[in-house]
C-alpha cells in the first residue's frame, strides 16, 4: 500500500482535485440559487454608472433597431457618463420577459412596453408610478399629447409609463393596382372598400390583407369596429362584456370581410408574422390596414411614391369620416422598473428619450409620431402620410380599455377572432350565433372578480 506506483498516485490526486472541484461547484450553485430573487425594495442608486434597457422591436428587424438606437445611447453616455446596455426584445417574447422580470425582481432598469399593456402591468406594481414629482424630473406631464397619455394606465392612477412613440392605423393602398382597377380615390367607408375589392379581384389581385392568426392585430381591429358600432368590450365599471349586440356585430363585420365580402383572401387566416405587409410590399395585395407602416414598407423595397395613405374606413352614413373612431391609440410607452438599482440614471434616461431632440430623431427613424407636443410640430412630421396619422391621433383614435385584465382580454378575444377566421377559411358559415358563442367562451375565460 505504501508503495503506490507513481501513476496511481497521479490518478488519486486528480480524483481528489475533481472531488474538490465538484464540491466547490455545488456550493457555488447552492449559493447563487439562494442569492437570487430578492424582489424586495423599490429601487436604489447602487450602480449609478450603468443602465439596462429593453427596447421593443420597432424597425424592420432587430438589427435595424440596434443601428437606430446605438448612436443615441452613445450620445446619452457622452452627456451623462452612464452606459446603457440595450437589448432589443422581439414582440413575441416581450410580455413574457416582463412577467418573468416582475416575478423574479431581476429585470432591466428601463423598458419599452406596448401602450395597451399599461394598465395590466400597472396592476402588478412592477413599474415606477409617474406621479407629479417624477413627471417634474422629465419636464412635466403637459409636455405630452393627451391622447397618448390616455394609454398609460388605469384612469385615476398615476401613469405606469410615459409615451415614447405614437402610432395610428391607416389604410395603405397600392396606387398602381387602384389605377388598373379604375378606382380613383381610396375608400372612405367599408361599403366602398367592399365594392372596390370586387373591382380589384377582377384584375387578379387580392384586395385587403389581414393577420388572422395574430391575436393583437385581431384585437386592434375588432376594437375599432366595436367603437364604430358604439359598443365597448368592458362595462363602465371594468367588467368584461363581450357578448353585447354591438360587439357581436363588430366582430362579425370584421370576419365577414373574409367570410362574406371575400375581400380578405382565406389564406390570410393563418397569417401572424406580418405576411400581409410583405404581400402588400410585393404588390400582390391592394390594401393594408396597418400602423405606421412606412419604414417597414421601405425596408421591404417598396418606394414611398408607389402607395398612398388614407384614413381607415368608417361605417356609411352619419357621423362619417373624421368623427367616427377609426384607429386605436397605438404606441409604445417607456417605463422604469421599480426594482432598478439606478433610479436617478433611469429617470435621466427617460428625460433624454422623451426630450424634443431625441423624439424627432427616433420617431423619424420609426415613422411614428412623437407624443411630445413640441416635437410633433416639427416640419418632419408634416408630410402627407404623417398628416393622416397625426390627424387620426388627434381626432378619431381611441385608447384600448385601460383595465387590469387588458392582456387577458387580448388573448381571449384575439383567439376567438382567430378561430372565427379559421371557420371562414374552411368555408364554414360565420353567423351571429357562432360569433356570439365564441365571444361567450372568451368571456368565460376572463378572471372571475
Amino acid at each position: 500500500m505504501s508503495a503506490i506506483p507513481e501513476g496511481t498516485r497521479e490518478t488519486m490526486r486528480s480524483i481528489r482535485a475533481a472531488a474538490i472541484g465538484a464540491v466547490t461547484m455545488s456550493l457555488a450553485l447552492a449559493a447563487s440559487a439562494c442569492g437570487g430573487g430578492s424582489s424586495s425594495g423599490g429601487g436604489s442608486n447602487d450602480s449609478p454608472k450603468t443602465l439596462t434597457y429593453w427596447a421593443s422591436n420597432q424597425g424592420a428587424s432587430i438589427a435595424v433597431d440596434k443601428k437606430v438606437l446605438q448612436p443615441e445611447l452613445d450620445k446619452f453616455e457622452k452627456q451623462t457618463g452612464i452606459k446603457v446596455k440595450v437589448e432589443v426584445v422581439p414582440w413575441s417574447d416581450l410580455l413574457n420577459r416582463i412577467l418573468t422580470a416582475t416575478t423574479s425582481g431581476q429585470g432591466p432598469d428601463v423598458l419599452n412596453i406596448g401602450n395597451t399593456w399599461s394598465a395590466s402591468l400597472q396592476a402588478t406594481g412592477a413599474l415606477l408610478p409617474w406621479d407629479a414629482k417624477n413627471f417634474a424630473k422629465i419636464g412635466g406631464k403637459d409636455r405630452f399629447v393627451d391622447s397618448a397619455l390616455g394609454s398609460t394606465g388605469a384612469e385615476g392612477k398615476d401613469p405606469a409609463a410615459v409615451p415614447l412613440y405614437s402610432m395610428a392605423y391607416a389604410l395603405y393602398y397600392n396606387k398602381e393596382i387602384f389605377a388598373d382597377a379604375g378606382i380613383s380615390k381610396p375608400p372612405a367607408t367599408w361599403d366602398e372598400l367592399v365594392a372596390d375589392g370586387k373591382k380589384i379581384k377582377a384584375k387578379g389581385k387580392s384586395p385587403l390583407g389581414a393577420e388572422g392568426s395574430s391575436l393583437a392585430e385581431n384585437i386592434h381591429h375588432v376594437f375599432v369596429f366595436a367603437k364604430q358600432h358604439g359598443a365597448d368590450f368592458f362595462t363602465a365599471d371594468g367588467k368584461p362584456d363581450f357578448t353585447n349586440d354591438g360587439v357581436v356585430t363588430a366582430v362579425k363585420q370584421y370576419v365577414d370581410l373574409m367570410a362574406k365580402d371575400k375581400v380578405i383572401p382565406t389564406g390570410n387566416a393563418e397569417y401572424a408574422q406580418n405576411q400581409s405587409v410583405s404581400d402588400f410590399a410585393k404588390g400582390k395585395q391592394a390594401m393594408l390596414l396597418w400602423q405606421s407602416a412606412a419604414s417597414n414598407l421601405k425596408s421591404q423595397g417598396m418606394s414611398d411614391s408607389s402607395y398612398g395613405i388614407a384614413p381607415v374606413p368608417v361605417q356609411s352614413g352619419t357621423p362619417g369620416t373624421g368623427t367616427q373612431v377609426n384607429s386605436m391609440v397605438a404606441g409604445i410607452n417607456l417605463a422604469v422598473f421599480k426594482n432598478t438599482d439606478n433610479l436617478d440614471g433611469a429617470t435621466k434616461f427617460v428625460k433624454f428619450m422623451t426630450g424634443d431632440a431625441e423624439q424627432k430623431v427616433l420617431n423619424t427613424a420609426y415613422s411614428s409620431i412623437p407624443p411630445v407636443k413640441a416635437a410633433q410640430t416639427d416640419s418632419t412630421f408634416n408630410s402627407p402620410s404623417n398628416a393622416v396619422l397625426k390627424d387620426t391621433l388627434a381626432k378619431s383614435a381611441a385608447a384600448l380599455p385601460q383595465v387590469a385584465d387588458e392582456s387577458q382580454f387580448e388573448t381571449a378575444v384575439g383567439t376567438a377572432v382567430k378561430d372565427l377566421f379559421a371557420d371562414a377559411a374552411a368555408g364554414r358559415a360565420v353567423t351571429t350565433d357562432s360569433v356570439k358563442a365564441k365571444l361567450e367562451k372568451a368571456q368565460q375565460q376572463m378572471p372571475a372578480k
Partner: protein, 330 residues
C-alpha cells in the same frame, strides 16, 4: 487456522507501516466509499435545483391565488385552498370543460403518435437488420429528424404546411390533385394531423435507434434454428423478435409516452400561443392558462393534476408490465 489465514494477508500488506496504517486505511476506505457520493453531489444538487425545488414551488403555487396582482411578491398572494383545483376539474364550467377537451385531444394524439412511432421504428429496425449496400447511409439518414434541433425542424414544417406557398399543399393539391382546394394545416381541424405528422416524424427515429440496439442482443442462431424448423419471416418476428425485444419495448413505449404527452415545443412552434381546438395539447393549454391569462395559481393546479395523472399511468404501466414479465419468467 481460519483466523490466521484471514489475517495473514492483511498483516502482510501492512507490515511496512505499523500503527498509523489502520487509521489511514480507514480514511482511505471512507474516501473510497465517499468519493462516488461526492462526485454525484453536483448532479444531485442540480437535480434538486432544476427539478425538485421548482416542482415543490409549483405545488405550493397551486394552492395560491397567484394572479397578476401578486406576482411581484408571491408571499402576499392569498391562499386559495383547493380553489384552483376546483376550477380545473369542474367539468360543467368552461375552464374545466376546456381542460377536459384538451386532455382528450392529448390522449388521442399520444396514443396515435406513440403507436406510429413504435410501428415505423420497429419495422425500419427489423428491415435494416440484414446487411446490404447503403445500410449505414440509410441508418444515418433515418436519424436526421432526431438529431435536428426541435425548433429548426418544426419551423421548417410550418413553412411546408402553409396554405398559400407550402410544400404539402403543392404536392397534395397542385401535383397529385388529391384535394379539391388547398387545405389549411395550421388552423382548423386539420391541425391535428399536421401535429401528428410532425410528432411522428420527429419521434420514430428514437424508436428505431432503441429497437435497433435491442435487436443486436438477439442471437442469430435462434433465427437460423427457426428457419430450419420452417418458420417464415412473419413467424420469426412474432415468435423470436418481439418476445426478445419485450424489455426494450417496455421502456421505449413508456419514454415515448411521457415525451409525447408532455411535448410543448412541437405544438408551440407550430401554432403559437393559441393552438387550434383540434390540436390543443395539454402542455400548451396549461401554458396559456398560466402565462397568457396571468393566472399562475390555476396553471400550477393543472400542472399538478397532469403530474399526478402521469405518475398514476406510469405506476400502473410498470406494475402491469413487470407482473407480465415475472409470469413470463416463471
Amino acid at each position: 487456522m481460519t483466523t490466521t489465514s484471514l489475517k495473514e494477508p492483511l498483516r502482510g500488506s501492512s507490515s511496512g507501516a505499523a500503527a498509523r496504517e489502520p487509521r489511514r486505511r480507514r480514511t482511505g476506505r471512507i474516501r473510497r466509499i465517499g468519493l462516488p457520493y461526492l462526485l454525484l453531489l453536483p448532479a444531485l444538487l442540480l437535480e434538486l435545483l432544476v427539478h425538485l425545488v421548482p416542482m415543490v414551488i409549483g405545488i405550493v403555487m397551486s394552492f395560491k391565488e397567484l394572479t397578476q396582482f401578486y406576482i411581484r411578491d408571491w408571499g402576499t398572494a392569498p391562499w386559495s385552498g383547493l380553489g384552483n383545483y376546483k376550477v380545473s376539474v369542474d367539468f360543467d364550467a368552461p375552464v374545466g370543460q376546456a381542460l377536459l377537451h384538451s386532455f382528450y385531444v392529448t390522449v388521442g394524439f399520444t396514443l396515435l403518435s406513440v403507436g406510429l412511432c413504435w410501428l415505423i421504428g420497429t419495422a425500419a429496425a427489423v428491415y435494416m437488420q440484414d446487411t446490404f449496400r447503403g445500410r449505414g447511409l440509410l441508418r444515418a439518414l433515418f436519424l436526421v429528424p432526431y438529431a435536428l434541433p426541435v425548433y429548426t425542424a418544426v419551423i421548417t414544417w410550418v413553412f411546408m404546411f402553409q396554405h398559400d406557398n407550402g410544400l404539402v399543399n403543392h404536392v397534395l393539391h397542385d401535383q397529385l390533385h388529391l384535394t379539391g382546394k388547398p387545405s389549411f394545416w395550421l388552423i382548423g381541424d386539420n391541425s391535428f394531423y399536421a401535429l401528428l405528422t410532425v410528432s411522428v416524424w420527429k419521434g420514430w427515429p428514437f424508436a428505431f435507434l432503441i429497437v435497433m440496439a435491442g435487436l443486436q442482443n438477439i442471437p442469430r442462431e435462434l433465427y437460423e434454428a427457426a428457419a430450419l424448423d420452417g418458420a417464415g419471416m412473419w413467424q420469426q418476428i412474432r415468435r423470436i423478435t418481439l418476445p426478445s425485444l419485450r424489455p426494450v419495448n417496455q421502456v421505449l413505449v413508456l419514454v415515448l409516452f411521457l415525451w409525447t404527452f408532455n411535448d410543448f415545443n412541437t405544438p408551440f412552434v407550430l401554432f403559437g400561443k393559441a393552438a387550434p381546438e383540434a390540436a390543443d395539447l395539454i402542455s400548451v393549454h396549461i401554458y396559456q392558462a398560466s402565462f397568457v391569462t396571468w393566472n399562475f395559481g390555476t396553471g400550477s393546479a393543472m400542472s399538478v393534476l397532469l403530474l399526478l395523472f402521469l405518475l398514476v399511468v406510469t405506476g400502473v404501466y410498470l406494475v402491469l408490465t413487470s407482473r407480465g414479465r415475472r409470469s413470463a419468467d416463471v
